[in-house]
Subunit: 106 residues, 2 copies
């Protein structure tokens, strides 16, 4: 474990600690999508999706590709796949409520 990893981790996890961004990543694990397709599939406004795609793109959690007027976003499966796998494993084995943890309510 390198010194200062905490700082790297912090940016990394702050980026992920948001329900809209996680939904975006989850959707993109299925298939690449345009902004409006994402907005519809997660039930959020286009501007919100754009706002949230920005930090995901900056940290290369997602990639972008032009297609006419559209911007097709895809996910970095190596990183995001690994993360989701770790979360699933943790939820199964360690989460007392099997994934329905309550960070605050308990």
């Amino acid at each position: 474990m390198k010194k200062g990893l905490s700082e790297t981790c912090y940016r990394f996890f702050v980026n992920l600690a948001n329900p809209a961004r996680l939904s975006i990543l989850e959707q993109l694990m299925n298939q690449p999508m345009s902004v409006n397709e994402l907005a519809e599939s997660i039930g959020q406004e286009q501007s919100m999706v754009s706002h949230n795609l920005k930090p995901l793109l900056e940290c290369n959690f997602v990639y972008i590709k032009r297609d006419g007027k559209k911007r097709i976003y895809s996910v970095n499966k190596e990183t995001v796949g690994a993360l989701f796998k770790t979360v699933e494993n943790h939820a199964e084995k360690f989460c007392p409520t099997g994934g329905k943890c309550h960070l605050k309510e308990g």
Copy 2:
């Protein structure tokens, strides 16, 4: 990818998206420690460490063990080790600044 994983992930990552909690986990990857030892090693107040240990404990990112007056905390290496490995890999391969990402400043 199961439906609703986003919700699980959210709690999970919110828990991690905090510099004090990440420092705690980083320290505990080296060795189990008491609260005061943790406080000293990360340079934070005892009350802050306690506050931050609480959610880590609730989600079983860390474990606790009594030792006289002290409470010795240890880390869930399976989950936290996997996460740190993923972050390191991402920082090396994908982070444009090699781990010194700027979520906001750029």
